[in-house]
Amino acid sequence: MSKNETELTWKDIEVGAIACDPGSARGYKTGDWRSQRPTYNHARCLKCGLCMIYCPEGCIYENAEGKFEASLFHCKGCGVCAKECPTMVITMVEEG
């Protein structure tokens, strides 16, 4: 869809409200649902990757420096990563 979703009228809705652009959820910001954010103490991190595997949103990735972090655009702050981290590297911090 070329139009932004705030500009779409009912006439722009595809038949059956089909989404013709697969992966459109990538553009949907769920980060603002969050009340807590995960923060990493990278000094103790074993780089086991369990946080990335357990993350139900798939929003944890390994950055260019080889460190794990959460994309805050999608992170809903569920805290699963902090709960599962074997070395307790991740602390959930209240959003300000």
Binding site: T9, W10, I13, V15, G16, A17, Y28
Partner: protein
């Protein structure tokens, strides 16, 4: 002229024959009284190699309709049938089918709802599903069932419609009748119902997401487009009935009248009881009683213009509902009042509920309803609606 064969058969079996003749690809259905003969007959046709369809023996009605979503979405001609509790178990998926614009045809052998358990006919099942966004048509006799089934596939699959269609057949009182019916020839069915060309079939080479997430910013637009769509289906439905009349010589309209011309008191019925009501109208007319009958055939989308046209000029409209919207009354009466309200001069609506759970209403019963209806019109009633035939 139509090349038809006149046969005597059970209405449920005739439904199966039409599903066979339109070369249905997928049937996913769970047997439930009084729909059972429809799916049993279809299972037999598939097992005997007379219909080349996938018959999915599914574990519940919820799954049956869910399977139909998938098959309709790949462009397969899809049929299911249910009744009563089965329709309620489908409830959640009914809304999905219509919102996804999937052309599924479903026969409903209308049945009462539990509890207490009752397998006989009334309209409780469909009335609880009336807001699900399906095209809903009521039938009165075997021939109408055959003809409506044929038209239902055309309507559902029309590029301008693409909606699921529910064909309502009164449980037992209609589904289990053995009647003479004209069945079309294969050549005629092929001419009237072309192959299904669903325009957006699921295709791995062109992936899409169906039934996707719609946040508040877009949900209203999605629902409005659905509403406009079902409203726009009405002229196409009329057009298809018109084509049917040209090819087969039998005419169907969204609202039908019987000896209603000039009548100051009108009865309003839906479904197979309408035939008894017609006989009652004949008898009352012969006795000099001022009475006519109107029947709503197309229940959704509601034919406001045709209904107002049929009811105008009458002083009293006596509505018989075969379901109770608990705490309110008859759903058809409520719709009738709402449709008539904008008219400057409108008939007074008198509401009866009756014929619940297979309780018959005879010709004498309709005479009583009309007598009491006229009394209520003249002197009022202590109630918003009255129930017919209850033992006090």
């Amino acid at each position: 002229m139509a090349e038809e064969t006149r046969v005597g058969t059970e209405v449920s079996l005739a439904v199966g024959e039409i599903v066979r003749m339109v070369n249905t690809d997928v049937i996913a259905a769970y047997p439930i009284t009084p729909q059972t003969h429809i799916v049993e007959h279809l299972a037999e046709l598939v097992a005997d190699g007379k219909l080349d369809a996938d018959f999915i023996t599914i574990e519940s009605e919820h799954s049956a309709l869910s399977a139909c979503l998938g098959s309709a979405a790949v462009g397969a001609r899809t049929f299911t049938a249910t009744a009563g509790q089965g329709l309620e178990l489908m409830h959640e998926v009914l809304f999905v089918a219509s919102a996804m614009r999937l052309p599924i045809v479903m026969a409903v052998a209308n049945r009462a709802l539990s509890s207490p358990l009752n397998v006989w006919g009334d309209h409780s099942d469909v009335m609880a599903a009336r807001d699900a966004g399906w095209i809903q048509i009521f039938t009165e006799n075997g021939q109408e069932v055959v003809d409506t089934m044929l038209c239902a596939f055309r309507m559902a699959e029309d590029r301008r419609v693409l909606l699921p269609v529910m064909v309502n057949i009164d449980g037992f009182h209609l589904s289990h009748m053995i009647e003479p019916m004209f069945l079309p020839s294969q050549k005629e069915v092929d001419a009237f119902v072309p192959p299904n060309h669903y325009p957006f079939p699921l295709d791995p080479n062109k992936p899409v997401a169906m039934g996707d997430f719609a946040p508040p910013i877009i949900y209203t637009e999605a629902k409005w487009s659905q509403e406009i769509n079902i409203e726009h289906s009405a002229p196409v439905i009329r057009e298809i009935w018109g084509e049917f009349a040209t090819q087969f010589g039998r005419t169907y309209r969204p609202v039908e009248s019987y000896r209603a011309e000039g009548a100051k008191t009108l009865l309003l019925t839906m479904g197979s009881f309408s035939e008894t009501a017609m006989t009652a109208v004949d008898k009352m007319r012969a006795a000099g009683i001022d009475i006519g009958l109107i029947r709503i055939r197309l229940w959704r989308p509601f034919p406001f213009a045709e209904f107002r046209e049929a009811a105008k000029g009458a002083d009293t409209l006596i509505v018989l509902d075969r379901a109770i919207s608990f705490g309110v009354g008859g759903p058809v009466a409520a719709e009738a009042r709402s449709a008539l309200y904008p008219m400057e001069k409108r008939p007074r609506v008198v509401s009866f509920v009756g014929g619940l759970g297979g309780r018959d209403i005879t010709v004498a019963g309709f005479e009583e309803i009309v007598k009491r209806g006229k009394e209520i019109a003249a002197h009022g009633s202590p109630r918003e609606f009255e129930i017919f035939g209850v033992r006090e």
